[in-house]
């Protein structure tokens, strides 16, 4: 293939103790994406350059990074979109391990805390296959497209600027909860979790997460806002609040 020109690729190199931008000159080929350029550097100039990648087709969500300041998948970002220098840094919301690799283990801990899909006893034991209509499963499907690239977590100012991981699960897990809550056969009520440890109230709807989602999931409009509404309906409706004070709370909810 024809080489078009050279690219100045700036890559942040370093670890938890610190680091700096290192510049590499990369021959650009037609249709090249940022990940190609980074892997070219790894094969030819810096064998120990740490980077995560797997499918190279925007399906696994491994190669998340900040490209010229914007959180993106490197495998899905053509070099041709940029003029001049391209700079690649690791995601800022997570601790750096080395170079472009960050420690995203917190996300896996959060996932464990979310009570899993729970159908009714009858649904679970019945030998009859379930009947569900396409339009009923479509809402849940949108959220299940998530490839766990964690770019939404990276851009979320609650996590990024305030490092409030102890009080807010972040957009990724709002849609995880939404996918479960909107599954036609799920029976759990996760609203106490949303109000409590998941911290749905911390989202103030700036929609940055929706903007960076490579799967184009309408995280804020279709997941977080409806979840907030469900939660508010129980906890912040003044009439209900008065009734609750008189009658006591509902059972059967997940605890935060």
């Amino acid at each position: 293939m024809m080489e078009i020109s050279d690219l100045d690729l700036n890559i942040w190199r370093g670890d938890a103790t610190g680091g700096d931008i290192v510049s590499y000159r990369v021959p650009v080929r037609e249709g090249m994406v940022v990940l190609d350029a980074v892997l070219w550097v790894q094969s030819n100039l810096a064998a120990d350059l740490a980077v995560r990648w797997n499918c190279k087709a925007a399906k696994c969500g491994s190669c998340s990074a900040e490209i010229n300041g914007f959180p993106r998948l490197m495998c899905k970002t053509p070099i041709a979109e940029y003029e001049g220098t391209v700079s690649v840094r690791p995601m800022k919301a997570f601790p750096v391990v080395k170079d472009l690799v960050t420690d995203v283990s917190w996300n896996y801990e959060v996932n464990k805390e979310i009570p899993p899909f729970t159908p009714s006893e009858q649904d679970m034991t019945s030998s009859e296959p379930w009947r569900m209509q396409q339009k009923d499963v479509e809402r849940s499907m949108e959220f299940r497209k998530c490839i766990e690239c964690f770019l939404c977590q990276d851009v979320c100012h609650v996590l990024r600027n305030h490092d409030a991981k102890s009080v807010f699960y972040g957009p990724r897990f709002m849609i995880r909860i939404a996918g479960l809550e909107m599954h036609p056969r799920d029976t759990l009520d996760r609203r106490p979790l949303l109000k409590g440890k998941a911290g749905a109230g911390y989202c103030n709807i700036t929609k940055c997460c929706t903007e960076v989602c490579p799967e184009h999931i309408k995280i804020t409009d279709n997941a977080i806002i409806p979840l907030k509404e469900r939660m508010d309906d129980v906890y912040f409706d003044p009439v209900r609040a008065a009734l609750r004070r008189l009658g006591g709370g509902k059972k059967n909810r997940t605890d935060a």
Partner: protein, 588 residues
């Protein structure tokens, strides 16, 4: 003893790999009462299973009422050109519907029929519409469902970004494994009572592949080094449709679902050339036939501008394409600037799947070494000489469960294995081999060697092979093995997330797989399924009853022919039977 120290971690069942087979196996083993530890090379949820797009094959007859396990069995055996382990094919066809429904009960959300049942789409060489799917991201849904199930199953632990380099035995049983953490290079000695290999495929030994960096054939190599037999190693599937342009995306998978939903293949003259190769099934012929047809068209000068052919689905409504093939639409728009609702795609064959692998017992997934089990792509038998699309996801569900149960049962009956004395010299030797590249950082560049392996396999074991080429390939691979013995890290002696070192440690697996492929391919002097030879272009019935078995001997790697037991009458009848053709009244 000086040298690096290691942490010891003990469990009942050690599972290598966190794709569909590994996770399904882990869940099954934990449900059987075992403590399970899953070890994976990448982060959890990134396994190659996410790349499975089209669907999972199961004779649920939700769309075609005529479908039964017998038809699915017959399709699998015919597609595999009779080389399959017939018992595996029988179990697979019978059990896959229940495994799919079980997945739904665990929260997977499939596309529906108008009656609200799980929808099933047509696919290559399946007689009836049979693939349960979620748009074109079935693998992701399957993996995420299993991932959530596994992390919420008590007794299942996960170690992410850990690479296993050697299996360790005590008293002839597999009883442990040596591994390193990618993040900081620290060593782990796993102790276990049984071990399940679910490490996936080996496509990375080719230049143009749909596989990720991980698919270096670790499981087959680990099993081979531990003395296990491998089977059908010559059978490597080219998926007919990978992207060809731009260069950076060459090889990325274009789902067979495009053809399942009505996509047609044309050459540069606009001819629907499959007419000449498989008049009856056309684009939905088996993968080996479609891949070779495309190869022939390109070689005859009838290819597209970038060396492929055209795959066209523009006759479908744009909304239909976007709902049934959303990630293909996105993939081409973003990476190739092609709108597939308006323009045809350019596609060519890409290395996709290893039918061969570790020889296993159909019922339990046990290998020929006690305490060692295998399931999924790393295991051999189900697919014979050619895998049908959709049969890999059902494979990993059916045999992941069986092998998980097999491993749990073996662990239960041999609890002492996890504490039996290991050979300390063997461990020291394995540690020394693992660390060696770090001691000669300026040795040969591992990326260079990896590239040369890929180039040798691409050149000498291509879609149509010949004896002289295979011999030359074997010479090249043996020479590369010698050079890999003195491989460095590409410059750095750091053990902290050093991909140069990681790449060096993967070379051994790639070389074992490459050698086994070439040696087996030389022995099979015929053309059958994915194995085509220009010097033996015909199917030879004498080879039809034979599988080639690879194992290590004191003289090195040997390949031996083994005659397969004939299938029982009721299965032979199922294959012979002529099934009514499916005529869809309404496709959308």
């Amino acid at each position: 003893m000086s040298g690096p120290t290691y942490e010891t971690v003990e469990t009942d069942v050690l599972v290598l790999g966190a794709g569909g087979a590994g996770l399904r196996g882990a869940i099954a083993a934990a449900e059987a009462g075992a403590r399970v530890l899953v070890v994976c090379k990448s982060l959890l949820g990134k396994a190659h299973t996410v790349m499975a797009e089209g669907g999972v094959a199961a004779a649920m007859h939700n769309v075609a009422y005529q479908d039964t396990w017998e038809v699915h069995f017959a399709d699998t055996i015919k597609g595999g050109k009779l080389l399959n382990d017939w018992r595996m094919a029988e179990l697979h066809a019978k059990e896959s519907p229940e495994r799919v429904l079980e997945l739904e009960r665990w929260g997977a959300v499939f596309d529906r029929t108008w009656q609200g049942r799980i929808h099933q789409r047509p696919f290559g060489a399946h007689t009836y519409p049979r693939l349960a799917h979620i748009g074109d991201r079935t693998g992701l849904e399957l993996l995420r469902t299993l991932q959530d199930r596994a992390v919420h199953t008590s007794g299942v632990g996960v170690h992410m970004e850990v690479t296993v380099v050697r299996l360790l035995k005590a008293d002839g049983r597999v009883a442990g494994a040596l591994a390193y953490r990618r993040s900081d290079g620290s060593l782990i000695l796993y102790r276990c009572a049984s071990l399940l290999l679910a490490t996936g495929g080996t496509g990375r030994m080719y230049r143009v592949t749909s596989n990720s960096w991980e698919s270096t054939g670790d499981g087959t190599a680990l099993a081979y080094d531990a003395g296990a037999q491998l089977r059908d190693m010559e059978m490597m599937q080219f998926h007919p449709t990978g992207m060809v342009w731009p260069a950076g995306v060459r090889g990325i998978l274009v789902t067979e679902g495009v053809r399942g939903e009505g996509g047609v293949l044309r050459n540069k003259d606009g001819e629907r050339f499959m007419e000449r190769y498989d008049h009856e099934r056309m684009e939905l012929s088996s993968r080996d036939i479609v891949a070779r047809a495309i190869n022939s068209e390109v070689n005859a000068g009838r290819g597209s501008p970038h060396g492929g052919v055209f795959l066209d689905i523009t006759h479908r409504r744009p909304e239909f394409i976007k709902s049934k093939l959303p990630s293909m639409y996105e993939q081409f728009l973003k990476l190739a600037k092609v709108d597939i609702t308006k323009q045809p795609m350019e596609v060519a064959p890409t290395i996709h799947y290893a039918m061969g692998g570790v020889r296993v017992d159909p019922e339990t997934g046990a290998s020929t070494v006690p305490g060692l089990f295998a399931a999924g792509e790393v295991a051999a038998g189900l697919h014979g000489a050619n895998r049908l699309g959709g049969n890999s996801l059902s494979d990993l569900l059916v045999f992941g469960k069986r092998a998980g149960e097999g491993a749990a049962s073996a662990a239960k009956s041999n609890p002492a294995a996890a504490t039996a004395k290991l050979d300390s010299k063997e461990i020291d030797g394995a540690v020394a081999a693992l660390m060696a590249p770090l001691e000669r950082p300026a040795g040969e560049n591992p990326y260079r060697l990896q590239l040369e392996i890929q180039e040798a396999m691409t050149k000498h074991a291509p879609i149509v092979r010949d004896g002289a080429g295979l011999e030359a390939g074997l010479d090249a691979i043996l020479e590369l093995r010698r050079r890999a013995g003195a491989c460095g890290t590409g410059g750095s002696d750091s053990i902290a997330f050093n991909p140069g070192w990681h790449t060096a440690t993967d070379l051994h697996s790639m070389l074992v797989n490459a050698e086994a492929l070439l040696r087996s391919a030389l022995e099979r002097r015929e053309s059958r399924g994915a194995h085509a030879r220009s010097d033996f272009p015909k199917v030879d019935d004498a080879f039809g009853a034979i599988n080639f078995i690879v194992e290590e001997t004191p003289q090195g790697m040997v390949v031996k022919a083994e005659k397969r037991a004939p299938m029982p009458g009721y299965l032979a009848d199922a294959v012979q039977h002529s099934y009514a053709r499916y005529t869809p009244e309404e496709m959308e």
